[in-house]
């Protein structure tokens, strides 16, 4: 027995691996695999031609940025041979990243490359390299602003969601709350939160408080509206079933109506989040002396448009990350909906 085993020829592991052919469907097609590196090379060429009359350090930084991207894309193109998950991810995202880099190159042609024919006047439209440079130069202030924005946003959003859920559940469940609450909601709710700024400035002890209040107000309306409609549209038969199974009123509210309303509640949370971004930026622009909204106005005041765009880029990353956190929470809470509806 043991002899037999010993006699068996040993195949070197590396040789064995080479023999395994990946099924065609799971391989990443060459054009997708190469889309990102090729796009980066094109962007570098564009940069090389258009950056002759740009400041030296901008050029270097942008080259470094593209170079690192290039290295990373090659590394991932190599690593994907060992990970099916990475392959799927590449198939999904490589075309998008490639096109985004080409878009940067086109942007550079328009802004820096064609400077001799004033397509876009200079101080207002810096090249991507210039924006990148501003971002790096001012990183401390940008980081600080992002931090302040995050604190303000989370404070206001949490407050608005908490109050919105409570009022929404009350209006949705109790007829008396509905009778008196609905008119208030319908009349006061549609006023954009930013329209209250004059009042907020008078009433509130500090700009910080008024900003949190305004964001909370902006979030409160959609959350209340959708929670209330979700709760009041709970299928009557679910409630009947629960009652014949011995459910108390608190069971009916917390274990039937609220879970049944969850899809609606999340709609409200998403709408509220959008409203909170808008209100945050406006509030920072007007009263608060910190945050990304303030930064944009401040940079514009100094005509540093590179910084304005840098702040916009960070805002995009910042807001979309927060949005995707909410998506993740939704996916977790509403996992039972998977297969019922298309997300």
């Amino acid at each position: 027995m043991s002899q037999e085993l010993a006699v068996q020829p040993r195949i070197p592991i590396s040789a064995e691996r080479e023999q395994i052919e990946l099924p065609a469907s799971s391989r990443v097609p060459a054009k997708i695999l190469l889309s990102v590196p090729v796009a980066i090379i094109l962007a570098l060429i564009v940069h090389w031609f258009s950056a002759k009359n740009e400041p030296e350090n901008e050029t270097r930084l942008y080259n470094l940025f593209l170079g690192e991207m290039f290295g990373a894309s090659l590394l991932i193109a190599y690593l994907q041979r060992f990970s099916a998950g990475l392959r799927e991810w590449m198939k999904e995202t490589c075309p998008i990243i490639g096109v985004a880099i080409l878009f940067l190159a086109i942007l550079e042609i328009i802004t820096a490359g064609l400077r001799w024919m004033p397509l876009l006047p200079m101080p207002y439209f810096p090249s991507p390299a210039g924006v990148l440079q501003s971002m790096i130069n001012d990183r401390e202030l940008l980081f600080d602003s992002t931090w302040h924005s995050l604190a303000l946003l989370l404070g206001g959003y949490t407050l608005g969601v908490t109050i919105g859920l409570i009022t929404g559940i009350c209006i949705g469940w109790f007829p008396l709350a509905r009778y008196w609450g609905m008119p208030v909601l319908k009349v006061v709710g549609p006023i954009p939160a930013t329209a209250w700024i004059p009042l907020a400035m008078i009433v509130s002890p500090s700009a910080m408080f008024s900003a949190i209040g305004l964001i909370a107000l902006a979030v409160w309306f959609p959350v209340t509206m959708l929670t209330a409609s979700g709760i009041s549209n709970t299928r009557a038969s679910y409630l009947d079933v629960a009652r014949t199974l011995g459910a108390s009123r608190s069971y009916l509210i917390f274990r039937v109506a609220i879970p049944a309303a969850m899809p609606n509640i999340f709609l409200g949370l998403f709408m509220g989040l959008g409203a909170s971004f808008l209100t945050l930026i406006v509030a920072e622009t007007i009263g608060v002396k910190s945050g990304l909204g303030w930064y944009v106005t401040w940079a514009q005041g100094w005509a540093e448009y590179g910084k304005v765009y840098a702040a916009l880029v960070i805002m995009a990353a910042f807001f979309s990350s927060i949005m995707s956190v909410l998506f993740k929470v939704r996916d977790h809470v509403l996992v039972w909906q998977k297969g019922v509806i298309k997300w």
């Binding site: 299928r235 038969s237 679910y238 009947d240 079933v241 629960a242 009652r243 014949t244 199974l245 011995g246 459910a247 108390s248 069971y251 274990r255 039937v256 879970p259 049944a260 969850m262 509403l334 039972w336 909906q337 297969g339 019922v340």
Partner: protein, 267 residues
């Protein structure tokens, strides 16, 4: 065997008395017109009995069942389970609808647990959940969400969910109406098995005359507008019943005659 273990006492059922019950609804067109869904209906059901209620739509079958469940209250008359007057829904009276109405956000297991959770008994009776899942043959689907189940499986979960409270009275509102013919016949046997094992009093509302004859001790035939009891027929066939026996078919013909569906439309 499982069912017998959890049944403990031999008879779980209790008597039901419906005494001169009327129920009117506002007409759809105006405030003044009232339609009588039920008009002076009286009925008594013995402990452990299985009765069916058949009749054309609009005869108040489901209304009667909702009144017995306590989900609605009558305009006049009284309903009693044992010696208690029915005023509100109660875990002792289970109700299974045509639509299983499983909570889509809960797994099969959690759906069956609802009755225990609602009454705060989950901790001491957790073992029964497994028993009832085995009873309806769904232990393999404990962690599935309802939308992964077929119609028959979902209805079995609904049955287990109602049975976990050990109801003294089980109300079935066309529970098998949405199933295909084969699944329906299999489920009829399953309900009969549960009924025999647990001695629960059952009231079954159905459209299906064969189902009524196959399953019940007595058949209550109702007529519409206003909803009244037309006739009560005692089914004296031995169990298990044979769907093709001459007695079965005779009774079937008799009931069709009563409901004016025997043939050759005269209108």
């Amino acid at each position: 065997m499982v069912a017998l273990n959890s049944a403990q006492s031999a008879a779980e059922g209790s008597t039901l008395r419906v005494d001169g019950v009327s129920k009117a609804f506002r007409g759809a067109d105006g405030v003044s017109t009232r339609t009588f869904a039920l008009d002076n209906v009286s009925l008594s059901v013995a402990a452990g009995e299985l009765i069916s209620i058949v009749g054309p739509s609009g005869c108040g079958k489901s209304t009667l069942l909702r009144l017995i469940a306590g989900l609605d209250s009558p305009n006049s008359g009284e309903l009693r389970v044992g010696s208690e007057v029915i005023t509100a829904p109660n875990a002792e009276r289970g109700l299974v609808f045509q639509d299983p109405n499983l909570f889509p956000w809960l797994t099969v297991r959690r759906n069956i647990e609802i009755g225990l959770v609602a009454r705060g008994l989950l901790r001491e009776k957790r073992h029964e959940v497994d028993e009832f899942m085995r009873l309806v043959g769904l232990e393999a689907f404990a962690n599935a969400f309802p939308h992964h189940l077929s119609g028959g499986m979902a209805q079995r979960v609904a049955l287990a969910r109602a049975l976990i409270n050990h109801p003294k009275l089980l109300l079935l509102d066309e529970p098998l109406g949405a199933l295909d013919a084969f699944t329906r016949m299999r489920m009829q046997d399953e309900v009969l098995r549960l009924w025999r094992a647990r001695q629960t009093t059952m009231v079954l509302v159905t459209h299906d005359i064969d189902e009524a004859i196959y399953m019940s001790d007595r058949i209550v035939i109702m007529s519409p507008r206003p909803g009244r009891i037309e006739r009560v027929i005692v089914v004296e066939l031995d169990r298990p019943r044979h769907r093709n026996s001459p007695e079965f078919l005779n009774l079937r013909g008799e009931i069709l005659e009563l409901l004016h569906f025997a043939g050759a439309a005269t209108a």
